[in-house]
């Protein structure tokens, strides 16, 4: 039997809400609870213990925005990658982000929230 091929996917969730979309404050417990529950269907997630600090240029304001994120690594079969994208689309709204960095087997994409898709 051929082994089921899994793709390593990783994404970053900033520890604070976007200060342009929202108020820049740390998330509430319910947001992390929601993510725990949403990721359980993928059968296992690893979070490196150190938070990650970085920055990005806000496309709307042109401003350099520093952020601190939690990284998640999840191995998913190819057919489930869209499910992960859907979770991250919702996560944009739950965590008040314009987009979320997602790396799928080394290929990077930015998953936008539903409110930003038509812009």
């Amino acid at each position: 039997l051929a082994a089921k091929t899994l793709l390593e996917c990783s994404f970053y969730i900033p520890t604070r809400r976007d200060k342009n979309l929202s108020d820049g404050k740390p998330h509430k417990r319910r947001a992390w609870k929601w993510l725990d529950n949403s990721l359980e269907v993928f059968g296992g997630v690893t979070e490196p213990t150190a938070p990650y600090r970085g920055w990005y240029l806000d496309r709307e304001t042109g401003e350099r925005v520093p952020d601190v994120s939690r990284k998640y690594i999840v191995a998913v079969p190819r057919w489930q990658v869209n499910d992960l994208r859907a979770v991250l689309r919702d996560a944009c709204s739950v965590f008040q982000q314009k987009c979320i960095y997602l790396s799928i087997a080394g290929h990077v994409e930015f998953v936008e929230g539903r409110a930003h898709e038509s812009e």
């Binding site: 509430k28 150190a50 970085g54 994120s69 987009c99």
Partner: protein, 175 residues
């Protein structure tokens, strides 16, 4: 109810332990012992999510059903306490129940506002701490979906500290 038959969560709400079997009680005790060692927040989340899956999946529960169990709720609460103490999570606030209802019962602010007739923009600004919402608007909206406001004693405050300096991530991402 005996004190060891109930777990009091961060909101001061009791989670009954009476229906747990002996193994589940041991699991909860393990989670509480681990949380009491003041672990790293991410390390604790890695631990409890794996521990609960390893415990319940062999019992025939679906992954979705695992998230509905009492030990899962307790682990999330313990994780919340650790995250708050580390400065990564906002301490409990007065509108957490409303926030949870919007997300978990309605799925989105839009759906909640449609059901309650509360203007979405107004509620969105209020929930983000950027505006006020009239108490009457909220009361009427809640009444429309069969809810009401209740005043309860506050749970003890949880201290919040600044997170430790994290590892640098150089990757930039567009907004």
């Amino acid at each position: 109810m005996k004190a060891n038959d109930v777990y009091i969560d961060l909101d001061g709400d009791p989670i009954p332990l009476g229906k747990l079997d002996a193994e589940e009680r041991r699991l909860v005790a393990q989670l509480r012992r681990r949380a009491a060692t003041n672990p790293d927040w991410n390390a604790f989340d890695n631990y409890w999510t794996a521990a609960l899956s390893a415990f319940y999946l062999p019992r025939g529960l679906s992954r979705r059903a695992v998230t509905q169990t009492i030990p899962w709720q307790i682990a999330q609460d313990l994780s919340g306490r650790i995250g708050i103490a580390a400065g990564y999570i906002q301490p409990p606030g007065p509108f957490d129940d409303l926030d949870e209802m919007v997300l978990f019962k309605f799925g989105s602010l839009r759906a909640f506002c449609k059901a309650t007739s509360i203007p979405e923009k107004e509620l969105g600004r209020f929930m983000a701490g950027r505006g006020d919402l009239s108490l009457n608007t909220l009361l009427k909206g809640l009444e429309a979906i069969g809810y009401r406001l209740r005043i309860t004693p506050a749970a003890p405050a949880v201290k919040m500290k600044q997170p430790r300096s994290p590892r640098r991530r150089r990757t930039a991402r567009p907004a």
